[in-house]
Symmetry: D3
Subunit: 131 residues, 6 copies
Amino acid sequence: MKLFRPTIIVSAHCDLPCGVYDPAQARIEAESVKAICDKYQANTDPEFRTRALIIKEQRSELVKHHLWVLWTDYFKAPHFEKYPNLHQLFNEATKLAGAGGSKGQADSAVAEQLLSKIDEIAKIFWETKQA
Amino acid sequence: MKLFRPTIIVSAHCDLPCGVYDPAQARIEAESVKAICDKYQANTDPEFRTRALIIKEQRSELVKHHLWVLWTDYFKAPHFEKYPNLHQLFNEATKLAGAGGSKGQADSAVAEQLLSKIDEIAKIFWETKQA
Amino acid sequence: MKLFRPTIIVSAHCDLPCGVYDPAQARIEAESVKAICDKYQANTDPEFRTRALIIKEQRSELVKHHLWVLWTDYFKAPHFEKYPNLHQLFNEATKLAGAGGSKGQADSAVAEQLLSKIDEIAKIFWETKQA
Amino acid sequence: MKLFRPTIIVSAHCDLPCGVYDPAQARIEAESVKAICDKYQANTDPEFRTRALIIKEQRSELVKHHLWVLWTDYFKAPHFEKYPNLHQLFNEATKLAGAGGSKGQADSAVAEQLLSKIDEIAKIFWETKQA
Amino acid sequence: MKLFRPTIIVSAHCDLPCGVYDPAQARIEAESVKAICDKYQANTDPEFRTRALIIKEQRSELVKHHLWVLWTDYFKAPHFEKYPNLHQLFNEATKLAGAGGSKGQADSAVAEQLLSKIDEIAKIFWETKQA
Amino acid sequence: MKLFRPTIIVSAHCDLPCGVYDPAQARIEAESVKAICDKYQANTDPEFRTRALIIKEQRSELVKHHLWVLWTDYFKAPHFEKYPNLHQLFNEATKLAGAGGSKGQADSAVAEQLLSKIDEIAKIFWETKQA
Ligand code: NI
Ligand code: NI
Ligand code: NI
Ligand code: NI
Ligand code: NI
Ligand code: NI
């Protein structure tokens, strides 16, 4: 954990469009999913576990939503030409937040895979911002 | 705009709690609010303006929500003792995203004030993470 | 239970603002939370208990939301000067509807504490309406 | 406006069911709708008016939702036998919060009709509580 | 399952109104509820079952919502005169998607009853479209 | 308009997964978007137009959501191999429901394009069901 986190340019999304996008929104929710998996595995109390599953379902859905917004609203045809695997990357990332991924399993390793996939997308995102 | 943005530790919130919090979530939406105000002032098309007001209402609500979560769920009694103005800061920040602030006015200067207030909160947040 | 309940002035909230606020909205959801806790303790059927936790999570969130709205949108600087503990009261009340309170525990006693805290807020609310 | 409002038994709804219902939830939102109509008619600023229409749409939807919950979840077959016009009353009340009513018109008189219809329902509701 | 499904005129709802309505929206969610019940009964894994209950709760709520919209927004006074049992049909159908029906029970037979009731409504709906 | 519409097998989606999917959900909302555009162009009343824009924004978002679910949750790697343009088709369709499409313009021709694109997807969907 960084001792002090500088104010950074963060970004959002909407369909005006405001023009502000940031993969951090998806990553934030995926971090939450991973922390929930960790806590789930460490705690066998049935009430806690039920609550963890309820919340993990919501956070995973938010991951999917934030990724879908980037895929549809931020990335344009030239990006998909330059990064031919970008469609597949997003499709795999959103699947990793669904039934076959972090929704279906309370498994920290799956959440890690989701985080890695989001980081791959973020890398491309920030490259396109450079361009 | 930074040329390349490194992957950073971002954080989220939920009421498990997952333990992940980050003022970036509020800031992201406030950046969006400001961009919407800028575009609103630069475009007099009535359809565009109506859409801008619809979306600004939603984004401002998200700012309020993310701030409320930090205020209630992240900050604890010892923090409020150490930072006696913290309650007021959050109250002012959330008001700045409401009817008397960015909801009620499509004014970039108001959105800037909201961003500054969020940055004051973020500074305290990251100091408490250090402690 | 009253035999006949007269039509009373009830009130709401929004960010126009419409000017209508009422602590009853938070109390209604907290009453629901308490009833859910009571039923949870009296029924060990696992399907019922899972459903109770799902719904208690939602109702607790609504309690938080309605309280946040009052704190940010109804109460103004002069109120906070006159009632110096008002910030803390709201902070404690919303925490009581969160992970450390009625979300984290299916405990009728916790729900009772939440109701009492809301009643303290309601008392102040109606005093300010008098003023 | 009453000088002091006593704590009253308020009630909610959910599908556990928690067993707590109260027509106040619908009335609260309808009061808000009426206040919005009043303010709309008194203010010709286009930004204000657009915001009023956005919020009136949401509040009217909440009226419909709270009424639907009462109609489906609180009232049972014997109630509908005893009050043969109850179905029609709910149907008219929810229509009054829709396109042909408070959604479609920013008209305080329409909002008053909606409030009256809700009061008719509330009267029956509290009679059934007596029974 | 049909081998190829032709593009058909489907319909939606909103409160403009757009004029597009279709009982298929309720049926789609009820089909989902039934499939969830089937899977629930066939799988005793506690994580799966908790997830099934979470999702069944949401899908059942959507069934209720889509039916309520038809009842309030599509059907008019002359329809209720022509089909005197229409109010009761909708009331029973929405109850079948609530606590006493598909929310309260993970029972495929209950979901089947819900589907049948929706089909009764759909039959009347399409008859009124003919008229 | 068909005189009588037979009960058909409709389908839904969720992330259990229930296994029920149907492009009709996206099409239903797109039909609504088109009807809203038609009515918007035929009616210059400012209140009506504002309401139309509010609702068109919501319906367009639902189109995007239903398409995203199909793209991520229904279609699997073998489908994307067999239909190499499927990623692009979904990306274009969701863009057509966004700022550059039916959200940004109250234009019936744009809504028609959206409907056509959804029909292209539906054709592939039903082919894969055949397989
Ligand atoms: Ni945006
Ligand atoms: Ni969290
Ligand atoms: Ni209000
Ligand atoms: Ni309830
Ligand atoms: Ni419609
Ligand atoms: Ni499903």
